[in-house]
């Protein structure tokens, strides 16, 4: 077996891995190695040819390849190493080793000072949402269809129905329409849009594509190939109402029904996983429950904005470099971040109180949409943060910044209140 060494090993070369690598280099790590299973760096952004990236980080609107390109370039300039066509099989959290198979060296073991997990996520498939009916060809996840159309020049069908109103689904509705397909409907089980309003306007309304809220696909028809789908309105318990069922002839069903963080390797390393995010729990340094193993990007929690991914990944890279050099802040005590009113989850889940003067960013998602609210943080029964927010939405990440010195209690509670 081939063996090699590095200071910081990064698993995954998407925007999270690239940003972490650049930050680790800037923090002074000497040998930073990205291990990526694809033959190219850039991750999911390579197929996201639409604009909408970089609005907060670069202050301009870029496409996915441009956004990734900026970090690829910087990584190259800073001599970040990359092992491509290399699939990571396991991580040993105690030894700090990474085992992968790659076309160049075969089975390879990498000994690292610290490790960053940046494997992104994968899409939910038909199996996970259990649509009844036959199993014909023509059922794709939206991301798979996106990769085929944008990277491989393969259009998967002509008459399309899309299940799920997330951004990926809506962006694919526009993309397929521009390529000459007919998108008959975007069907959403919830009574509100899952993605950004801007995508509804520019991807659906611009092309007259109907959005069917509170509807779902009840059955798929077709033997060899999809011949159509049945859709129906759902009641308040999300149960289809039989009388409302209608048939839409189509040859393709695209599923845009959510993403799941890719954490087989994380589980294998016995790292604690949050049952809410399905990603590793982390502290403010993006360090997992195993010291010296960091995580960032969609592997931690599904992000809607790559700009947020970059910010948290820079933290992961910076502290991974510090860990490798033995310069982590001291660990005095750990407090959890607790979900209060209308908060679904918070990242980071724990905060290390190092005694240093420090600003701590907490990202969180709400459970239900609301308007005219305050985002608050409190510790030891005292409010330590309050910000007015005109509108909150489960699809858009919220953000508060607190001072470490204000955390006097045994936890920090985040609430969204009227």
């Amino acid at each position: 077996m081939y063996e090699t060494k590095c200071d910081v090993a990064i698993i995954g070369g998407g925007p999270a891995g690239l940003s972490a690598a650049v930050a680790a280099k800037k923090e002074g790590a000497e040998k930073v190695l990205i291990i990526e299973r694809d033959v190219k760096l850039g991750g999911i952004l390579q197929q996201c040819i639409h604009p909408g990236f970089g609005l907060t980080y670069f202050n301009k609107e870029l496409t996915g390849p441009e956004y990734a390109g900026a970090f690829k370039e910087e990584a190259k300039k800073l001599s970040v190493d990359a092992l491509l066509d290399a699939m990571v099989l396991s991580v040993d959290g105690e030894e700090k080793t990474v085992t992968c198979v790659c076309s160049e060296y075969g089975v390879t073991k990498i000994h690292a000072g610290s490790i960053v997990l940046a494997m992104g996520c994968r899409e939910r498939t038909r199996a996970q949402i259990q649509i009844p009916g036959t199993r014909p060809a023509g059922v794709y996840t939206a991301g798979a269809a996106q990769r085929l159309i944008n990277r491989q020049n393969i259009v998967v069908g002509k008459d399309i129905v899309i299940l799920g109103s997330g951004d990926i689904g809506m962006i694919m509705a526009r993309r397929m329409t521009l390529e000459g397909c007919k998108v008959h409907a975007v069907v959403e089980i919830m009574d509100y849009l899952a993605g950004l309003t801007r995508n509804k306007v520019q991807c659906l309304d611009d092309f007259g594509i109907p959005l069917k809220l509170s509807h779902t696909v009840t059955r798929i028809k077709g033997n060899e190939r999809v011949e159509g789908v049945y859709i129906a309105e759902v009641d308040e318990n999300k149960k289809p109402i039989p009388e409302t069922e209608e048939f839409i002839p189509c040859d393709t069903l695209l599923l845009s029904v959510g993403l799941i963080p890719e954490n087989e390797i994380t589980r294998g390393a016995e790292i604690e996983i949050s049952p809410v995010t399905n990603g590793p729990t982390v502290n403010q340094y993006m360090e997992t429950s195993k010291e010296g193993i960091f995580a960032c990007g969609n592997v931690v929690h599904v992000n809607d904005l790559v700009d947020n991914v970059t910010v948290e990944s820079e933290k992961a890279g910076k502290y991974a470099a510090k860990y490798a050099k033995g310069e982590m802040p001291s660990r005095n005590r750990t407090v959890p971040s607790v979900c209060g009113n209308n908060v679904r989850y918070i990242c980071p889940q724990t905060i290390n109180i190092s005694g240093e003067d420090e600003k701590i960013s907490l990202y969180f998602r709400v459970m239900a949409p609301d308007t005219g609210v305050f985002l608050t943080a409190s510790s030891a029964g005292k409010e330590i943060y309050r910000k007015k927010e005109l509108r909150v939405n489960p699809g858009e990440m919220c953000h508060v910044v607190i001072n470490a010195a204000d955390i006097t209690g045994d936890d920090v509670t985040i609430s969204v209140v009227k």
Binding site: I49, P51, T63, G69, R151, L178, R198, L390, R391, N393
Partner: protein
């Protein structure tokens, strides 16, 4: 003519109502801020969009090159722009932001590469 426009400048998504004809705007309401008002006026009279797509590329280890319009193009020209994009073949090597189609459909906007191939 009356139009309801959902402002996409920020996540608030205000509903803006505009009444007028062509460049003439008689009434505009529903916006919360200045940026929204500007957006509402522009979207009513001259709606524009950034267009992104792919063109075929030869001499590369991939079949497609992602491209974008350098600036926004008039919304009504999008179908004809797509026609021109479909009929274009680029040749590697291409650098990010190289011009692939100059002045597409005569609207004064270039189609440029989104990636280095």
């Amino acid at each position: 003519m009356e139009k309801e426009i959902i402002c996409t400048v920020c996540p608030m998504g205000c509903h803006i109502f505009v009444e007028g004809e062509g460049d003439r705007i008689d009434r505009i309401e529903g916006f919360t801020c200045k940026r929204g008002e500007e957006y509402g006026r522009a979207e009513f009279s001259h709606p524009v969009r950034i267009l992104t797509s792919t063109v075929k590329i030869t001499g590369a280890d991939q079949p497609l090159l992602p491209v974008r319009s350098e600036g926004p193009v008039p919304k009504e020209l999008i179908p004809s722009c797509m026609e021109e994009i479909r009929n274009t073949v680029a040749k590697a090597p291409v650098g990010v932001h190289d011009v692939i189609i100059e002045n597409i459909c005569g609207c004064g906007v270039n189609i440029i590469a989104s990636d280095t191939v």
